[in-house]
Symmetry: C2
Amino acid sequence: MGETPVPAATAEAIRKRLESLAKPVGSLGRLERLAARLAETQSTLAPVSRPRHMLLFAGDHGVVEAGVGIWPSEVTAAMIALIGSGRASSSALARASGTTLGLIDVGSRVLPAPEHAAGHIGQGTRNLAREPAMTPEEFHAAWDVGAATVRRVAAAGCRVLGLGEMGIGNTTSAACLTALVTGCSAEQATGPGAGATAATLDRKRRVVADAVARARALWPLDQVAALASVSGFEIAAMAGAIARARQLGLTVILDGYVTGAAALTAFVLDPCSMGTAIAAHRSAEPGHALALAHLGLEPYLEWDLRLGEGTGALLLMPLLDAAAALLTEVATLAEVTGR
Amino acid sequence: MGETPVPAATAEAIRKRLESLAKPVGSLGRLERLAARLAETQSTLAPVSRPRHMLLFAGDHGVVEAGVGIWPSEVTAAMIALIGSGRASSSALARASGTTLGLIDVGSRVLPAPEHAAGHIGQGTRNLAREPAMTPEEFHAAWDVGAATVRRVAAAGCRVLGLGEMGIGNTTSAACLTALVTGCSAEQATGPGAGATAATLDRKRRVVADAVARARALWPLDQVAALASVSGFEIAAMAGAIARARQLGLTVILDGYVTGAAALTAFVLDPCSMGTAIAAHRSAEPGHALALAHLGLEPYLEWDLRLGEGTGALLLMPLLDAAAALLTEVATLAEVTGR
């Protein structure tokens, strides 16, 4: 797969190819739309779905101290360890779908082992309820970690790249970024995330509204500072990963709300980067649909997922195998009828 | 997989197991419901998704001569040949999902090769617009073909069985069976199938209404005769397959509207057989949702599929891998916290 050069294909040529297959036109519904999208991201009539990687970026968030959720920051390190042990949800779904899983700790509170220290920007962001979550310099550094990681997996042969994250508190950043970039209200952008009570959800909404108001004061003349002020190390890294994946011709599979916020970040700084993105699913977080609409991306699964950890993107992976097989293995009507 | 005996598990025990995993409760949404359903069909906390087969049953329909669709009966034989050549949509999706594909020609108009003649009941059904599509004896024979095929794949180690079909005209039978069993109107049960014009759809509705009225005269005292009068050889075979799969402990993955009509048939004659069934998707055919509601089955994909040929069930197969992995490979919160 991928060894025979295929001429670049336009969206129109891809549509015609799908319509030429030996079956009623359109009868495979959204699988055909997924196949078309996969082919578009690779500019070919013969897209591939493997080799593929899932990169999980992890980071902690100072805003957790503002009481925006029910989980303490310690859970981030516990989940990093669980993923490392191969017994997290993402570990199981990666194995089930034949996807190589990689974890990059960009900024958890616990210092990583020395061999992983190179990509560790800081021990969690600052509390965005009180001050900017990170400086533009830190944003650059995190972005570069994502870009460098993608360069590495691309060199190892990766063609399809799933993105996911782990970071207690990061749906607060995602809500801020969604409101900031799409222009929706803090109310619309803020959901329960991985867990909420009425009190934490109310606090989260107020924190988001205030932080977005401060970020908007920097908009649009200092977008990086505005984005950085409400972002997370893992989010900035994913944004850098998306932009670099586009440059290297990798298809990117986005996971849920937080990954969507990284895509919004990449979209602001490099709108063309969305040309490589596929939205795996629409999550249970209400702001996610607004983010996807802003990005012009159609989600393929509506499974009420709200775990993150790349799980939704991992569920779509085998459906990409089906989409690629449809375009590359099914006979055309002309071949069947001999006309 | 499947070699260690696991004690029978109740729905309540399966729910508790899912809630015990190291992630927010319910955060994997419909994947958790699919995992629970898969486990229920196997009465175990450790369900398997492989080895798996897709059995495609093919048959022709005399009602095609009444002008109920745009495709001639010859397409059935052409598709049987295409599936045999490995270049049909179902061939591609079976390979992509690691599913063994089998085709059983129960009743196409063209006589099959001698080595396949044993399971061939007749050269298409009679025209249900004028007379009963088949006799109760033919219905029995087709049912037995399905049951015998399942016995064979179960003996070969199959644990998960996808069912699909190929047969020009068979959405007319599916509409009749859906109206007959669920009590909905011919209007509600009849859609365009694989292709329709305004004229063919109008004729199809009238044919369905008349045939269902005649079948209802036999209901409920002679259910087999009523079902047989509007069925298809491939539909009766799939119904027999479902009932036998239940007896042998196989999980059955249903495809679209025609497979749903087979499930309705099995449900009438053996309501317990639905205990083994999972509805892969809700198709674009409007009657399918009514059939699934009658059966109490939740579809997992809403991808506007209307091809048949087992394609929707094949798309769900790798998601069963994910569902099984969730229950069998993810750590519990107690294991992580040591409590």
